[in-house]
Symmetry: C2
Subunit: 569 residues, 2 copies
């Protein structure tokens, strides 16, 4: 397929060699102050300040017009009152500027008068082929250029997402939340009134940037629905596009007109357009990030059949409801699996899906269940509940901490510790595998009194997962080594039960990675408490509750079905 024209068109926007801030200011009460501050904090290309009253802005020489700048200007960031923008744009045309970001507000969104001004600016820009982001926007970020061209400094990081937002505030919130979850952006554009470059243009550009894995859009209104469908459906075959689109009610539709100057239109029209274009519509910014992260780290389910495993019955009940309400199929367990579980779990286990060991104190059995389920062709996906609560298990044991003495469980720990350290330092995969198996057998056998036969099975699985190439590079072995170093110098009393349970999470993490890789089926996990989860070291993300987990799984299935339809046609 040929490269679409937009790829070259927007290059000066996303990879400018030089940037001028028109309206840059020393006055702390002006947006020109914070905009210039934001860009200069990171951008390494040529940066110029334009201010017709000062000769210097924040330590940079200031030019009274963009025309006076002695070198080429690729991108102009304009942050002056709306009524001056047309003249500024005229200067930009004279100067040969290639692209612009108009932060200034007071255009289409304020009504007829603003609309006239906006058209004037557009006409002028067209004469010089200057593409426009905005007006009435918060600016943009391009990782390729290390360019945070925002109206005030924002925390952002590089990563596989691309975000185009007709709302600067909601866009900023999505960026902040994503960064808090441990994930970053290749581009983020607050596109404001989308006077020139349209949503579908941005999406087409991002679709052709291989460093962008998932495209996120916040849409208030589209100018040309069929153009959107045509361009975007080419992208959604290659990578997912997630859309957040308010305006279901009259109240919001009205607010949209005064905000971005868009005509929101009937919601059902958008719903149909998204369906046609293969765009996945989400209901909130939280769901947007939830689904985006799953698309990055999970395979798509091949069908609707889900099994829920839960360390607590009520979680399972809530999750079964959440799944069924979203069209997922909470299947009956195959009889063969029922038999295996009957022999594994206490007789009071749930005897069905959700799989609930009903307070079995032996965590190993719970961790064995997903592997057995994933092997079955009837199972398309698993929701594995309680991720993260395994480290909370320490609380259970810590309750008797005054009686807790590791040396009680491990005789001659000092000499053993020296051997352990040697093995870890050797980096010999096979030796490390045996080491892990032995350590697990010792720890679990002595502490949890797990049956020997089940232990060896399980220990092998874990040892396999932990000695995968990628795990060797993570912090698990470093932490393990530190612990044994403490033991080797006779300070075993300094090792806390917490240190040990902190090793649990990377183990579960490695296990899930292993399952996903081996069976090519999604394993969605949940914690049970509020608060922002972070991507684990292994790239795994636990959702805070079953609503979010099941919504994610339903969206993955929706995308799988869409891809099936287009591959057939």
């Amino acid at each position: 397929m040929n490269k679409p024209a937009i790829v070259d068109d927007l290059k000066p926007l996303f990879q400018p060699n030089s940037v001028a801030v028109i309206g840059a200011s020393n006055d702390i009460s002006k947006w020109g102050f914070s905009t210039f501050s934001s860009i200069k904090s990171l951008y390494k290309g040529e940066l110029y300040a334009v201010n017709n009253k000062s000769s210097e802005v924040l330590g940079y020489p200031a030019y009274s017009s963009v025309i006076d700048i002695p070198s080429q200007v690729d991108l102009a960031v304009i942050v002056v009152p709306a009524e001056y923008v047309a003249d500024i744009m005229s200067d930009c045309v004279k100067k040969g500027v290639k692209a612009s970001v108009i932060i200034s507000a007071g255009f289409a969104e304020i009504g007829e008068k603003g609309k006239i001004m906006q058209n004037k600016v557009l006409e002028t820009a067209k004469k010089g082929n200057i593409r426009i982001v905005g007006p009435n926007c918060m600016g943009m970020w391009s990782a390729a250029a290390d360019l945070p061209a925002f109206m005030f400094p924002m925390t952002i990081k590089k990563g596989p997402l691309g975000l185009i937002s007709q709302g600067g505030n909601i866009g900023g919130a999505i960026v902040a939340d994503a960064v808090a979850r441990g994930i970053g952006f290749q581009q983020y554009v607050s596109c404001g009134c989308t006077a020139d470059i349209q949503m579908e243009d941005y999406i087409e550009y991002l679709g052709n940037d291989d460093s962008v894995k998932i495209i996120l859009v916040y849409i208030e209104g589209l100018n040309d629905g069929s153009r959107f469908i045509k361009k975007v459906s080419r992208v959604t075959r290659k990578k997912p596009v997630l859309a957040l689109k308010p305006g279901k009610t009259e109240a919001a539709a009205h607010a949209i007109t005064t905000h971005s100057g868009s005509m929101s239109g009937t919601d059902s029209v958008y719903e149909a357009a998204f369906k046609k274009a293969g765009v996945l519509r989400v209901e909130s910014s939280v769901e947007m990030l939830d689904v985006a992260i799953a698309l990055l780290v999970q395979p798509l389910p091949k069908g609707p059949n889900v099994v829920i495993t839960t360390p607590g019955g009520s979680y399972g009940v809530m999750c079964a409801d959440a799944c069924a309400l979203r069209g997922l199929n909470v299947i009956d367990l195959p009889p063969a699996i029922m038999e295996v579980f009957n022999s594994m779990f206490p007789s009071r286990w749930s005897h069905g899906n959700p799989v609930d060991p009903a307070g079995d104190r032996d965590i190993i059995q719970y961790l064995r269940a997903p592997e057995l389920l994933l092997r079955r062709p009837e199972v398309d996906a698993i929701i594995f509940m309680g991720f993260g609560s395994f480290s909370a298990i320490s609380t259970v044991f810590a309750s008797g901490s005054q009686n807790w003495d590791l040396s009680k469980y491990f005789d001659g720990i000092e000499d053993m510790a020296k051997i352990v350290i040697k093995i870890i330092d050797s980096g010999d995969k096979n030796k490390m595998k045996v080491l892990i198996q032995n350590l697990l057998s010792a720890a679990l056998g002595k502490i949890l009194a797990t049956k020997k036969s089940e232990l060896s099975d399980f220990s092998e699985l874990i040892a396999d997962a932990l000695t995968a190439e990628r795990m060797m590079q993570r912090s698990f072995f470093k932490n393990l080594r530190n612990m044994f170093y403490t033991a080797s110098i006779g300070q075993i009393h300094k090792i806390k039960i917490n240190d040990i349970s902190q090793l649990m999470e990377p183990i579960i993490d490695a296990l899930i990675e292993r399952w996903v890789e081996k069976y090519d089926k999604p394993v969605i996990t949940t914690t049970f408490t509020e608060g922002t989860s972070r991507l684990s070291e292994g790239g795994h993300f636990p959702y805070p509750n079953s609503d979010q987990a099941s919504a994610v799984l339903a969206k993955l299935l929706e995308y799988h079905r869409y891809l099936e339809t287009v591959s057939e046609s």
Copy 2:
């Protein structure tokens, strides 16, 4: 009204003078280990261990039967395998035990065999009038007795909530999330199979405990719907009851039977019962806490008319949708208000509801708007967006931190600081009021260049709010004093822009308290980023997004309307 019988019946459960743990154990792999550990960590009454194999448990003498305990036992916590519970209960009857918590699982939830065992236990207990929590539960908390009778140690704190849950895991998650938000419980009971004491019995008891302000219940199934309606509707006239009830789908109904042994029944029957009893049904544990907190700190709205104020257009759009979808009325602004806002905000403001100053850099105008709106009879409630982001404003200014020098704004700060400290130390309310006014005028006038006439209005309002009795006892003045102390000893350079913006949040907090008190209308606030918010020092709680905020407001309105109906009848 007479005290219902349940108040005396459940007194030995919630206020026992002595507790025996039957099945207490030294074995870390047994629930009897962690249950005993949990209780002994806090309970100050007489505590006994019963274990027929050891003579000592975790430092306590152990009795081989409850009968052998030399003193009276009010409450027995039973944590032995299901098949022994009937015999244990028989011993309890002989001993004259008054109440019991049966943690053991393997009763009604496992089917016919378990059901028979459960009935046997019930019959036996009845002979001695022993009331039963459970079986198949995680235990309970009573603040009145400092009693954490859980199967493992949990973090819980005292507070105005009461929680009864047919799921121990979901109950534990609600407790953990509530504590993280800064709010605690008078009682929390994981009631398991509810073989004896029914949901409506607990609710009736909590309804009669004045220290409980809000009752939360997680219900999987009720045994007698009309008894529930009769008893609970008496409670909901006095205080709110919030219910989380899964089982909308076949998949969940099935899971419920194997979990708590309940028959879930048709969802529409529950919906009708809740409506009739005045129970507010919520959709998730997050919504449950969201609404509970609002009921604690906000008045009920008298009608559906809401105005949204927002520092960003897209937030407003999302919020208008969220409100309208929940039946709230996003009203047109009264013409008189339009006029005032036209003179206050830049001409690009949204000119409607949501009220969006569209990037006005003068935050004062945004903070003046709610007061003007609350005065209007057309306005029943306000959603005030962006709480918390005011301290983020520091980022905007901090961007020019190298040029930031406080002494530039304040001459002779050292002498002034000494006077400020004297005034704060005097505790003289009137002097402090004048002080606040002057400080604000100086700070805002010089930094934000706010107009003088507006400043005096606004400064007076803030000064009023800050010198309310309760504010004098909070940390605001302590922090202010510390800041000026630093200035008084010639170290003004040590004061960071962040120190100043951290004073912002208590100011907004005080302002909102003032508005709520003055106008008796709810002012619901939102931040815009994920993560758990905490109750502020002033008891104010900002929701992370407009979905949550509007859901809360809709529930408050639902409760107001219910109370209107019952007061008419």
